[in-house]
Symmetry: C3
């Protein structure tokens, strides 16, 4: 079994080797995978998470998840779905039949007295639904509380969340570092969000060299993450100067956004306010496999009343999807696709040259290396 | 040169390691590759067998086979066919000219005095035509009699055989085990063959635990194979029960078929009667390369007279092609494509969990490991 | 880091192991990459050479070349071109800004006080334009004079050169050996050039076994190359005989061409006269990556006056492009694609069987192994 990342590479990135090793993501964490409305009653949905093929299904309102692979000859249940009872799925090949809730092999239709019945379980995955999102836990340990794997405040009672998701052909870390990278504002300088929403956005930041540019939170029982403080300790750069002459300018606007940016384990960014004062963007870079992630974008707002929720929903649909989640973030998607080529064979981790605004990324790599709950490997697939 | 299958995997499947090693098939055996009518006089046909590119041609009625690769710079003759005499093929690149019958390099058109002339032979392969099928022998040893590499009775004088073939994207062993697997009847439960031909087919079998479920034939000078006796020693299962309730039923019909099922080296299944009383299905899973096999499907019938042969031909064309070879067996093709994903990196051989009806497959793996005449490796290509 | 070619293969080709190792080409040499008219003022052109992604640009008439990869996070500048001043290119991701002439990192638009500014250079490549061709030097040593890397006479003052280029899916050495191979005239026997231009071309050559078939030039400070003398020391073969009977004939014509054929480091063939008396064909097989080369085809003529140049241009456009560079050489392209399959996994270098006319190829391999200025490896990419 070939290692996901060569020992030669790992030996050269001592400060965050476990992060570099986590090409398939971190085990024993919760990941958002679909919106609740996408998983309908008795309608199995195949997904891939940390390289594992998984099948979701909703039964009597509750969502279950099992590994999408029969124990017998390894075929995917989803290649030809056969659910003969509400509580079970039968493999289309030899009729091995499993319960959705436990994964237990309860019957074999082609050999009803088989000694294998009752002796095996297909892997089942803990599932939680909150804020209209289906979260799946991939790991071996007893699941932690979901609140430890989302940014602080995300679960607040009055917070309403809407979003969308899409598959992007880059490793999840390339995406996480794109999102958490203060210097990358530069790629958004022509975004329709800036003009259309009257937002101020500098080209970059001129950090004082001695400033503390990050702050980590690693309290037990709480989310683990890193705040990027560059905005507080820098002069925002609105004039781009080349060899002494100003050649490009940042976007002036009346609204200030993105003043508080933080990155949390396992793979979620919080930006507030964004894309507008009063809103918070939460976005996950969920590992699908080595070369693909699910870009799970959401915007949250405190909506104490139903009327406010309805209003926000309308605003989300009519404005933020096109202007922010696509208009702004499509630039990020392009950047990840481009960056992926440099890191795909893992040599980018050695050959990159970082600069001051990357201190937040370095701190994120260190925190993730130290506080993750396990590394996904090929043996787990 | 990387091994086809890693030593790590081979060490974990001790009972049938040589079978697992045989990703490219077994050497020193006969394989069907085309029907006789597909190889026309002086019309070379490129094929691939056990990973080797081969060129067939018919000269004065007899079929010859040579390696489709010039000895000089390795190009395929078939990239641009040049046959300047009936008995030879010349490489289009430098005019190296070989005889079809011996493979001998008899002339070099670009250098008629070359010392290489007469000193080399391109590999030629023994060929036999029987029952309207062209068989090719791949190996180094003196060919065995063809009768040792086909199921008993196949060559009987009065047996007429018709068929078709197609390339399927799975390893040949995945196909062999799909065909020989008693439990897989389950996938055929909705086949048009059952209704259209009034066939009884259970969902599966409930074998007594102590029954002898297989019988091997390994006599010297005779075909080597395994009979699956599960039909004799089991109660056929016509009711599929999940957690105590019947949820699905097998197909009742007036005809009984598939009562005698056996698998023979190198890769051929015999099912009789099938798809109808009085008929026998013979099908080969011929290795093309690691990830593809030629599914060579035939149906045989004893036809002592020409009139009976003509009648069978009409029945074959009008009924069995659509109802059996496609209507029934297309389900098998789908199953192989699905199973291939689990076994493609060879870990399926370790991670599978078998059950009672797989005893025939286990016995086949053992017999094939012990009685094959050689393992094809990359060095042979 | 996997070696480009396995040590096992290299150990079996002792006479020219460094040539076999040079799957990505030779370093410290000059390569033609585009015609001058293809590189327009302030219009960057991305190319690939010896596996390195490079960006060309013309500024105030002079062509520059830099590595098409930002030092920071490794993205390609060409994924989204941003040239904010004439003399610089800025990376679209974080605004790292480099000078075209030196590659120096002169500004970072997102962090104008970064300590990285002025401390790094993206690799820049020496460029020369001669005969309407842009040559790029890939290497670490001080560039040699261009005259050492082109065939003798190519740079003669009165020589006018026209041409075209295309990407072909074979390794560069397969192409070089196709071009320099005397025996391959056989593939051109039906070329429209022969009839359309009344050219005599034999099927091959019958060299005397003891003749000196090559002559190498390896003087210091001069181009290093091999002349194929087979034409002088052989009887041209106009009758192709198989088992004693003439079965095919070479092309008789009034013009004799290709009397002087030579191959030069790093990868350029000279054929004169060709495709007509008074013309010389120079063609390069420029390594793009392991499996592709740029086929850079040119025809040169001594044109002392502008009128002669104009006349040659018209003749080139109207006649030689279609009749020679395509009509004749497209056969060579086909041969390279076919040969590539045999050599792609490097085993062709061991399994080939050469013959007398391949002495020029063997001498070329030896000369290239000994006189190249360095082997391109994955570490250089």
């Amino acid at each position: 079994m070939t290692a996901l990342v060569s020992p030669e590479v790992l030996s050269q990135v001592k400060g965050w080797a476990r992060y570099v090793e986590a090409k398939l993501g971190f085990r024993n964490h919760w990941y958002p995978i679909r919106f609740a409305h996408e998983v309908l009653e008795q309608t199995p949905v195949p997904i891939k998470l940390l390289g594992e093929k998984i099948l979701l299904n909703r039964i009597d309102g509750k969502v279950y998840a099992i590994k999408d692979r029969c124990l017998h000859r390894g075929v995917a249940f989803s290649d030809k779905l056969e659910c003969l009872t509400k509580d079970t799925i039968s493999c289309w090949y030899h009729g091995w039949t499993y319960r959705w809730d436990t994964g237990k092999l309860v019957d074999i239709l082609t050999n009803p007295q088989s000694i294998q019945i009752g002796r095996h379980n297909v892997r089942s995955y803990p599932v939680q639904e909150v804020k209209g999102i289906v979260f799946v836990y991939v790991g071996d340990r007893e699941p932690t509380d979901l609140s430890e794997d989302v940014p602080p405040g995300f679960l607040d009672a009055d917070r309403t969340v809407f979003g969308l998701h899409r598959e992007v052909a880059s490793n999840w870390r390339i995406a996480a570092e794109n999102g958490f990278d203060a210097g990358h504002v530069y790629i958004h300088k022509d975004s329709i969000l800036l003009k259309g929403n009257d937002i101020a956005l500098p080209l970059g930041f001129a950090p004082g060299s001695s400033a503390q540019l990050t702050r980590s939170e690693i309290e037990p029982g709480r989310p683990k993450g890193v705040f990027d403080l560059i905005g507080e300790h820098s002069v925002p750069v609105f004039e781009g100067t080349i060899e002494g002459e100003v050649k490009i300018r940042g976007n002036m606007g009346s609204k200030r956004v993105a003043e508080n940016i933080s990155m949390w384990l396992p793979c979620v960014l919080r930006v507030e306010p964004f894309p507008n004062p009063g809103l918070t963007q939460y976005e996950w870079y969920v590992p699908i496999d080595e070369d693909n992630h699910l870009y799970f974008q959401t915007i949250g707002k405190l909506c104490p009343t139903e009327a406010e929720t309805d209003e926000f929903k309308q605003e989300f649909d009519e404005k933020w999807v096109s202007m922010a989640l696509h208009g702004f973030n499509d630039d990020d998607v392009m950047a990840r696709l481009s960056t992926q080529r440099f890191y795909q064979d893992d040599r980018g981790w050695i050959n990159e040259i970082l600069y001051e605004p990357d201190k937040s990324i370095i701190e994120w790599r260190r925190l993730a290396s130290e506080h993750n709950r396990g590394i996904q490997s090929r043996e787990h697939l």
